[in-house]
């Protein structure tokens, strides 16, 4: 039987329920009593949980198949960004692949217009650089080297297995996820009792995002996340097995919101999660991944008695740094060209953009969630490309390198094409919602 709540969570929305489930289990491990008071909030936006979130859920004993089934989930292996007529798929990657010790993105990212001229469906190659001799094999676009790109584009799904190393997200129905995480929290001992007087109270209220985006449901569509850029606004399409939700991001207000100065962590007990919720937007995996990493840190620095302030200060500082860095990635939805980034981006973002354009290098900082490969692909999707290729790539034999990459692309595509559709995959794992249930749910 759990003790009286010494740790108490007040919040709203599925993110607060997610936090409650994780904290309840962690509190159980520490022998602390845990309570929560969580309102439903606006249950409109599907949850996108990335690799960090899934790792944390796995760590507290939540089974992925069960989660998918209960929350009408689908898989998302990446995001397709449409900037004008130029779609670009960015898979969720686990690390940096190299060729002869040089990161692949530094070899491929400077490829002029490999993606933009032909689109990802064709993956037609263009020449390596001006002056490429006729007959020299050209380099494939970077994203084309990963099977998850093909899986995403063709609505197929397979869990990664060697040698195919990639990561994935799950997209969950907000109503179902709220119920599921609240049930999990209760299962792990969360109590509805009020906290004891000396309890540590954490707040996790999901901000209302109406001034930043609107949400509408669209007809059934392929299962993948898609972001479409329409001049000054963007539509972010997120699909579930039962519905497709379209978030229209309002350009001006959102840009303004995201451009507010970085809040400084003040060590207030209530701010350790709230900072992420107010700084990041829940339209991609970064929101829940950042929350998950902070929850894990909360466990590692579990605040105890009189020393809570010291631990919370550490957690808050780290959460704030992580949120700021992740927010730079999200802000690329609005700062979508070099000029905007260099005039309105944070110092860290300007630094990334400047060095990437200069030589294809991405400077990373402590607390980054997004790795260099994804940054490079995202810049490339905005038409921002390095002016020069890595000088160390110069001595590589272009013909051999081209052939190696083309083979890798063929292997990736070949393997991906043998995988089953996401619908079949979900059905096979018993996580697909029958059509009749889906209709009722809608």
């Amino acid at each position: 039987m759990s003790a009286q709540p010494q740790l108490f969570l007040r919040g709203s929305g599925p993110a607060a329920a997610f936090c409650a489930a994780v904290l309840a289990r962690k509190a159980q491990l520490t022998g602390s009593g845990f309570g929560a008071e969580i309102e439903c909030g606006a249950l409109k936006i599907p949850l996108i949980l990335g690799p960090e979130s899934l790792r944390v859920l796995h760590g507290i004993g939540i089974d992925e198949r069960d989660l998918m089934k209960a929350c009408r989930g689908t898989y998302a292996l990446g995001t397709i960004y449409h900037v004008g007529d130029k779609p670009a798929t960015i898979p969720v990657l686990s690390g940096e692949d190299t060729l002869d010790g040089i990161p692949l993105f530094r070899i491929c990212a400077s490829e002029p217009d490999a993606e933009s001229e032909h689109g990802p469906e064709t993956w037609t190659e263009t020449g390596i650089e001006t002056g490429t001799e006729t007959g020299t094999p050209s380099l494939p676009a970077y994203a084309a080297l990963y099977p998850s790109t093909y899986l995403a584009e063709t609505d197929r799904m397979a869990h990664p297995s060697p040698p195919h190393d990639y990561q994935y997200c799950v997209v969950l129905d907000p109503n179902a996820a709220f119920d599921y995480f609240m049930r999990a929290a209760r299962h792990y001992g969360m109590r509805n009792q009020p906290p004891i007087q000396s309890a540590l109270i954490i707040t996790a209220f999901e901000p209302a995002h109406e001034d930043i985006f609107t949400i509408s449901q669209t007809a059934s569509a392929p299962i993948r996340s898609r972001v479409v850029h329409h001049d000054r606004a963007q539509a972010c399409e997120i699909s579930l097995s039962t519905q497709v939700c379209e978030l229209t991001l309002r350009a001006a207000k959102a840009a303004l919101a995201a451009a507010t100065p970085h809040a400084k962590p003040d060590g207030e007990t209530s701010d350790v999660l709230q900072h992420i919720m107010s700084r990041l937007l829940p339209f991609d995996r970064l929101y829940y991944d950042a929350l998950s990493m902070s929850l894990e840190e909360f466990y590692q620095f579990w605040p105890v008695g009189d020393e809570s302030g010291m631990a919370l200060h550490t957690i808050a500082a780290r959460s704030a740094r992580r949120a700021d860095l992740a927010s730079d990635f999200q802000r690329l939805h609005w700062l979508c060209d070099e000029r905007a980034i260099m005039s309105r981006g944070s110092d860290a973002l300007q630094g990334k953009c400047a060095l990437f354009i200069h030589r294809g290098h991405i400077p990373l900082h402590e607390g980054e969630i997004v790795n260099a490969s994804e940054w490079a692909m995202r810049f490339a999707s905005l038409g921002i490309k390095p002016k020069t290729r890595d000088p160390l790539a110069a001595p590589l034999n272009m013909e051999e390198m081209g052939q190696a990459l083309i083979k890798r692309r063929a292997d990736a595509r070949g393997w991906a094409s043998q995988q089953m559709s996401q619908t079949d995959y979900l059905g096979k794992m018993g996580a697909l919602i029958p059509a009749s249930t889906a209709r009722r749910a809608q």
Binding site: A354, P363, A394
Partner: protein, 539 residues
């Protein structure tokens, strides 16, 4: 310190300034390394392997008449990756450099006189309920039921029993819980690198640098004038001239952040003596009245030294004290060195980058000198300048190095500051020291809660901090509640079983000396017996 973002904006602003036109940027086609020694030849070897194939000429200038310091006989595990990336054969390294294995550093008399602990290249125990083992240990320790933390570290027990075998690749095995480095003759290592670099196309020029010829802007270097009057021009320069910092000292990178108030040792005396037949697989650092002494056992000799504060004792006293500690006849004359601890925040300035002692010096205490050389080379290659004017690359390089050095600095200060010694003015001063805020916070949170403020980018990770905290008697007042919620008897039984498992795993490993002998003479890449000694890890 300006960020790259600011740098980008500034570089637009400056593009019309008179200075900018004074030194027209040119593509980097020729790199000159000024100075040999460990830093110079490590840089040359790496550039030879990775940069010469890209069509860039590499020249190294050194003078046989200038003695090198030969820093860092004891190394860190990272050096193995450097060697591997250059394609070096590990057996050859053992044979050519007198190398022995290093599993960590034994610290004697640092907390109190009579104290002893090992900072191992490996973990303590295993995570329980998602929290580090040291939380379990400290909970047991408060109940007088813990034993030594050393007993829960495989490399510490291996060190104590003078045994070694390569780590296992299988993460499920206990033998996968450590890493290793080398104790080697830095001079021989530099010679090995020199042969490799010259074979790969590095041009060596014998000569003494008399003058650094600056460009009209006063920020870039045009060339180096040697004592015979020859001028060596290049597009980019690497300053490996040691403490003299001949090149970087002429640029905007000349500013040196002095850290002697935190790390006050400023002299060292080094001497070699004959070794025993059973060299230990660890380096020893023994705290003394005015500093500390090192002992590094190689295959046939021992490297010894006394690092001290000149405010406290004279060079003569230091030499006398050092010689009195030797275990065998000397095989070299004592070599006296002067240094100042600190760092150049702009180690890359204009078209010059400082690598090694010219960039700064911390302390040989944790064998970081060679590591910082390696780190600078790695970042230099990652950011290989495209032209002689590379402000973006310079800013990023300096950011990365600062980030690394600041953390190392804090870690080193911890050794001095976390002392309870009251037997000499030196230790009184160190105990009362006002340390950087970043370190105060780290110490305080560990002292009160047992939490380690970890980071992902940096040299010394959690286990290293835990080793020094606990080794120097900073025992947490509390443990993670997940550790406290374990029934004490269960925790004690678990700990005791782990210690027994470690002991039995180590007992069947070969003796260190036999291992080296067998490995260097065997045909395969791994020593016989490596697989059989890998006990299963507890879950």
């Amino acid at each position: 310190m300006s960020s790259i973002g600011e740098m980008k904006l500034n570089s637009h602003t400056n593009s019309t300034s008179p200075n900018a036109s004074a030194a027209a940027p040119r593509p980097v086609k020729h790199i000159v390394i000024a100075g040999g020694g460990t830093a110079g030849w490590m840089t040359a070897a790496a550039l030879a392997k990775l940069v010469i194939p890209a069509g860039i000429k590499v020249t190294l200038i050194e003078s046989d008449s200038i003695k090198t310091v030969g820093v860092g006989e004891a190394t860190l595990p990272h050096l193995r990756f450097f060697n591997t990336s250059l394609g070096f054969d590990e057996k050859e390294i053992f044979r050519e450099t007198e190398a022995t294995i290093k599993l960590g550093i034994e610290f004697c008399d640092w907390g109190k006189i009579g104290d002893r602990y090992v900072h191992p290249f490996g973990d303590y125990g295993f995570d329980v309920r998602g929290v580090s083992f040291h939380h379990i240990w400290s909970a047991l320790h408060r109940n007088q039921a813990a034993g030594r933390i050393d007993d829960f570290s495989l490399p510490v027990v291996m060190s104590e029993q003078n045994r070694f075998c390569f780590p296992s690749d299988d993460p499920e095995r206990l033998m996968s819980t450590f890493s290793y480095a080398y104790q080697l003759d830095a001079g021989l290592y530099a010679q090995y690198l020199r042969k490799f670099a010259q074979r790969c196309g590095v041009t060596r020029i014998e000569g003494r640098i008399d003058e650094v010829k600056m460009a009209a802007d006063g920020e870039h270097i045009d060339g180096l004038i040697l004592s015979d009057g020859t001028t060596i021009n290049a597009d980019f320069f690497v300053d490996c001239t040691g403490f003299r910092a001949l090149l970087i000292g002429n640029t905007k990178g000349r500013d040196f952040e002095d850290w002697t108030h935190w790390l006050p040792c400023d002299r060292a005396v080094a001497v070699r003596c004959e070794g025993s037949n059973a060299p230990e697989p660890y380096t020893r650092a023994s705290a003394k009245d005015a500093g500390w002494m090192w002992r590094i056992p190689l295959q046939s000799r021992i490297g010894n030294g006394y690092v001290y504060s000149s405010e406290m004792i004279s060079p003569e006293t230091a030499e006398r004290d050092l010689l009195a500690q030797l275990e065998g006849p000397t095989t070299s004359d004592p070599l006296h060195l002067k240094f100042k601890t600190g760092w150049r925040r702009a180690g890359w300035s204009g078209n010059c980058v400082a690598v090694g002692l010219s960039a700064g010096f911390l302390e040989p205490l944790e064998s970081t000198s060679i590591h910082l050389i390696q780190s600078a080379i790695t970042h230099l290659i990652e950011l290989l300048p495209l032209s002689s004017d590379s402000p973006l690359e310079a800013a990023e390089f300096n950011r990365l190095m600062d980030n690394e050095v600041d953390k190392i600095r804090d870690f080193l200060i911890l050794h001095y500051h976390a002392t309870q010694r009251t037997d000499s003015p030196f230790w009184d001063k160190m105990r009362e020291l006002s340390v950087p805020e970043s370190l105060t916070e780290k110490m305080e949170i560990f002292r009160r809660l047992g939490y380690v403020q970890s980071y992902k980018t940096g040299l010394f990770l959690d286990a290293s901090w835990v080793a020094v905290f606990l080794g120097q008697n900073i025992i947490p007042q509390s443990s993670h509640p997940a550790a406290l919620s374990l029934p004490p008897q269960k925790a004690a039984a678990m700990a005791s079983s782990l210690a027994a498992q470690i002991k039995s795993t180590v007992s069947v490993l070969p003796q260190h000396r036999d291992f080296i002998s067998e490995f260097t003479h065997s045909a395969g890449t791994k020593a016989p017996g490596a697989a059989g000694a890998a006990g299963a890890r507890q879950s």
